[in-house]
Structure formats: structure tokens, C-alpha cells
Symmetry: C2
Subunit: 340 residues, 2 copies
């Protein structure tokens, strides 16, 4: 038991006053050194002494107290809980977190799953973030933007498929995904196109605009688009495949690669030839899609940004009155493999 640290009840939490006493400096000096305040000139030996004392005592500055003193926070809030698991979004959020940390922001994610829109916004506002980055799948209303702004947020940014009044919009227009998929299928000579609509909750903010993009692209070509509800389970796919011939489709855009893999397997098991009878295309360019036979065609997505999002956020925080930013980040392109 000797290697166990003392139990919490016996621990006295060290304060900046303790650090100041041990280092032989003022509390203000401790604060300047540990908060990396570059505006105040403090000699390197003194800085060293303060850091040593802090380490020895196990003292860590209090982010919330610092925020209250400064009158604003360095907290950037990323509501989470609905972020799709595609590789694009994962990479995007990791880069954003790293970029904001380099600019000395504290980035936290807050799980909003299960909260109504207004409850969620109130919960976010309680944390007094200086900026809020709302991912696609979470509804931000003009009222929500107003609550956040009034509670001190200097930048409210939506990454959703649609812009929101009062918020900056760095949107990812999901219609492009459906448009790229259907343009590819049209180029392959297909005219009767099914579009998979996942039955799973939380995906509507993606599936609806993808369907809209598919329709916008199909109509001028005189092609037909047919929405196909599909649950992410083998039974649902088998049921859809069982009535495939009645649908008289010659192609399907299957929402993403996972649904495409599920449906393609069910179609093959039902005797539908891929791509002979029906062409299949997914989205996300997952490695797993390349393992099937035929290899799955897909829509690849990339983000185009003039500057890193972290720097855009920092600029908005420092110039809160500037004109609304509106930029569509999403670039898409079909990747032709063997299933289409």
C-alpha cells in the first residue's frame, strides 16, 4: 500500500499563494509566469523558481478562475454526440483541436445527445465559451445563437449543411455528395436511380441534403430518383433486395460505404448482378469498401479551407463585430471502381 498517494480527504489543495511563498515572489508574479503572460517582463531565473515551486507543490492554475478574472474565457466548445464516424470528420476535429491548442485555447467537447435543442444551448452557455463550433447533426437556431452571444460567445460557427442567421457558417454542403454520386451514375448510362435513406436516427441532416443533391442532378438529365429507406441490419437489406426487381432501378447511391456494402451483399444474395443489373456507389472511400468484390465505387470527400479553421476562429474572437463568414468547405468527387 506504500506506493498509494494520500487519500483525497487528507490532501490540502495547493494555491498560488503557496507557490508564491515557496518561490519568494508575489502572487501576481506566479500568475504571470504560469499563465505565460508575455506582456510582463520577468527574469528567467525567477520564472524557473516559480515553475519549480509549482511542480514541487503540484499546483495547477485554475482555468475558470483565470477566465473570470480576465472577463472572458479561452474555452472553445465543440458540442458532440452526433459527429459521424467517417474518417473526414475524425481528422477534421483532431486538426481543429490541435490548432486551437497551439493558439492557447482550451477545447472541450460536450455531449448533447438526448437534450432538446434549447436545453442543449443553455447547457453550452453555462460553460461560457468564447467560441462555439456546432457540428453537422446538431440544430442551431437563431435563438440559440442569440443565447450564446448574450452569454459571452464572440464567435458562433455552424458546420451544418445549412447556414444559420446570426452564426458564421463554415458549412459542408452535403448536397454535393448526392450530386457527385448521381453525376457519376448518369455518366455510366444509368437513369433509374435509388437513393438509400438510413432509418437510423441522427442521420437525417446528412441524408436529406444528399437526396436533394441527387434530385437536382438527376432532373435536368431526365433521370428518375427513388428514395429507399434502409435500416443498418441484414434483415432490412434482405427485405429491400427481395423486392428489388419491382422497383425497376438500374443504379443506387447508398448514402455511404457502410450502407452500400450492406445493400450490395443483399442484392448479390438475391441474384442481382452488380454492376450488370444495378450499379452501386457509396461515399467516404472506406478501405473496407475496396475489400468487397466487385470493389465498391464511392464519393470521396475533402475539405477546402483558405486558412486553418483554428485561425479563422481566433480572428472572429478578436473581431466579433466583423461581417458573417460564409464558406462551403466540402469538395467531392466520384471514385470509379468495379461496382458501377
Amino acid at each position: 500500500m506504500s506506493q498509494l498517494p494520500k487519500q483525497p480527504t487528507e490532501v490540502s489543495v495547493p494555491t498560488s499563494a503557496d507557490v508564491a511563498r515557496l518561490a519568494g515572489v508575489s502572487r501576481a508574479t506566479v500568475s504571470y509566469v504560469l499563465n505565460n503572460n508575455a506582456a510582463v517582463r520577468i527574469s528567467e531565473p525567477t520564472r524557473h523558481r516559480v515553475r519549480e515551486a509549482a511542480t514541487q507543490l503540484g499546483y495547477v492554475p485554475h482555468a475558470a478562475a483565470r477566465s473570470l478574472r480576465a472577463g472572458h474565457s479561452r474555452l472553445v466548445l465543440l458540442p458532440s454526440g452526433h459527429i459521424p464516424s467517417g474518417p473526414l470528420h475524425q481528422y477534421f476535429f483532431q486538426e481543429l483541436q490541435a490548432g486551437l491548442r497551439r493558439l492557447d485555447y482550451t477545447v472541450v467537447q460536450y455531449g448533447s445527445a438526448g437534450l432538446a435543442d434549447d436545453e442543449a444551448v443553455r447547457a453550452w452557455a453555462e460553460l461560457r465559451p468564447v467560441a462555439v463550433v456546432v457540428p453537422p447533426g446538431i440544430t442551431l437556431t437563431p435563438h440559440g445563437t442569440d443565447v450564446l452571444t448574450r452569454s459571452g460567445a464572440k464567435a458562433v460557427i455552424t458546420l451544418g449543411p445549412e447556414p444559420v442567421a446570426g452564426a458564421h457558417g463554415l458549412v459542408m454542403d452535403q448536397r454535393r455528395v448526392g450530386a457527385s454520386a448521381v453525376a457519376h451514375l448518369l455518366a455510366r448510362g444509368r437513369r433509374r436511380i435509388g437513393v438509400v435513406m438510413p432509418r437510423e436516427p441522427g442521420l437525417t441532416p446528412f441524408s436529406e441534403p444528399r437526396l436533394a443533391g441527387a434530385r437536382q442532378t438527376a432532373e435536368p438529365a431526365g433521370a428518375r430518383v427513388c428514395p429507399l429507406p434502409l435500416g443498418y441490419e441484414e434483415e432490412s437489406a434482405a427485405e429491400l433486395a427481395g423486392r428489388w426487381r419491382e422497383l425497376e432501378l438500374d443504379a443506387v447511391f447508398a448514402y455511404n460505404d457502410e450502407y452500400a456494402m450492406l445493400l450490395m451483399r443483399a442484392l448479390q444474395d438475391a441474384g442481382v448482378a452488380i454492376p450488370g443489373d444495378t450499379a452501386v456507389i457509396g461515399a467516404d472511400d472506406l478501405l473496407l469498401g475496396r475489400l468487397l468484390r466487385p470493389r465498391l465505387s464511392t464519393v470521396r470527400m475533402e475539405l477546402a479551407m483558405d486558412q486553418p479553421l483554428a485561425e479563422t476562429i481566433d480572428r472572429l474572437v478578436h473581431h466579433p463585430g466583423s461581417a458573417p463568414v460564409h464558406q462551403d468547405l466540402l469538395r467531392t468527387g466520384a471514385v470509379h471502381r468495379d461496382s458501377s
Copy 2:
């Protein structure tokens, strides 16, 4: 432009004093009502008036200020950035967040990717969480536990594969996964077993104990275990499959279903019969694994808890001096399909 809210520079942030004035009550009453303090009796009409005034002004309580006044926070911190994307972990963290919210905690995730262990712990401590739940894949040291405890954390809980001195351990012993996979392969008559070790960073906290569990199970049966480094890309899988016959293996536990799907396809392309020449088993029981032919055998994982983790955390927060909790949450079992 008329529907845009006022620009942030023109907004005056409403305070609890403004709410008190509008509702005709004291600031203390505002605080009691909006913080749901049940210990103070306030009439329903007064509560209603306070809430109406807060809504009208767009006032939201300040979580950090409330924490400072109370002397402790209600913030539960989940460091993130390495949480594996398996369905088990996703579900687990959603349930945990919902459970803690019901108990009136504020749960935030903090991305620690790219921070050294000590930097990460200091960043967590700055947020002054009352509890920290460290997921597998993030290293918590006894020193880190001490820093967190000294900064006010009343419960530090590791979910990692191994317990940590000073922290409560609700661990998920990943050795069970390797043990279940190998026990299944032994029962199918296999004795020369490869174990895939992913080359991708961040997976070692899972792959090493899975290998250890595989070895512990193979040895008493006189079976051989051979670690097989594999990158998550087709080239790496083709390279491994190309020298498969030299390895003289009759089975492989492929870390998880995704690596198993990748390797099984490469083995098939190299002319290795599955399961005739080599049995393959993954882990996670992904739906996609059932789409391959042969259908992928897998290790299914479940969590066993005496009570919801949120309630355990709440108990530890209220009894910080209690004896260290140690519980292994993971239950595993092989699911036999057609690849083994």
C-alpha cells in the same frame, strides 16, 4: 439583414442582478431557482417569475462561477482522442454522459491527442474537474493521479487495461479478448496461431494485452503464438499474405474485425483457403464482418457493471476517502461463424 441578432459588440451580457430586478426578488433567490437548489423552499409562482425573467433576458447561469462559489465543481472530465471507434465504447460513453447529466453533472470531453502525458494531466487539472474518467489508450500515472487529486478531483477512475496506483480502476482487461479468440481456435483444432499487431499508433494499449491473453491461453495447450505486425492498408496485407506459407500458421486472431476483413481478403487473393488452410477470427462483432464470404467469426464484448458507472462516480465523489474500487468490466465470448 433584419433577422440577424445584434452584433456581439453591442450586446450587454445579462446578469443574475438583471433577472432579480425584473422578477422583483433577491439575487440569492434567482440563484436558488436557476440552480435547482431543492434545499431552499421557494413558492412555485416565484420560481415561475424568475424563470420567465431569465428567459426574457436570455440569462444563463455561469457554471464556472457557480463552481467557484460552491468550492467544488460538478464537472466530470472525459479525456478523449484515443477512444476506439468500436460500438461497445461508443455506446458506453453515450450512456455514461446521459447518466451523469441525470445526476446534474456537467460532462465534457477534452481532446488530449498530441499532448505528452504530464501536459495532458496539467491541462485536465486546469479545468478543476470533480471527477476524471480516463479511457483506455491514455496513460494515467500515479503522479498524474496525484496532480488531479490535489487540484480537487474527488474521483479519478481509469478504464484502461491495467489498474493505476491511487486511481479507482474500472478496467476492461483486454487480455480476455485474446484469450477468448485463442480458446475458440484451440477448440477448432488449431495449434499454430498468428496474432495481428496493428502498426497504427495508439492501439498498443489494446493490442499488447490481447497478445498476452492469447499467449496465456495457448501455452498450456502446447500451441504456438506468432505476433504479426500489419498496417491498415491493402499493400501491408498483401505483403503479409505473400509470405503466409513460410509462416506455417493454421489460424490467425486478427486484432479486430476490420483488420480481420483486410487480412482475410488478402489471404483469399493469395490463394489461402479460409478456413481450410487458415482459420480467421476478429473482434467487435461488426455487422460488416457478416457481409464477407466466409462470414467472419468474432469475439463479442460486453460490459458487466453492478450499477451504472454514473452512480458509481457520484458515490465516489461523495465519499472521496473510500477504499479503491477495482472491477473488471469486460465480458467476452467467441461467436463462431464460417471463417474458423
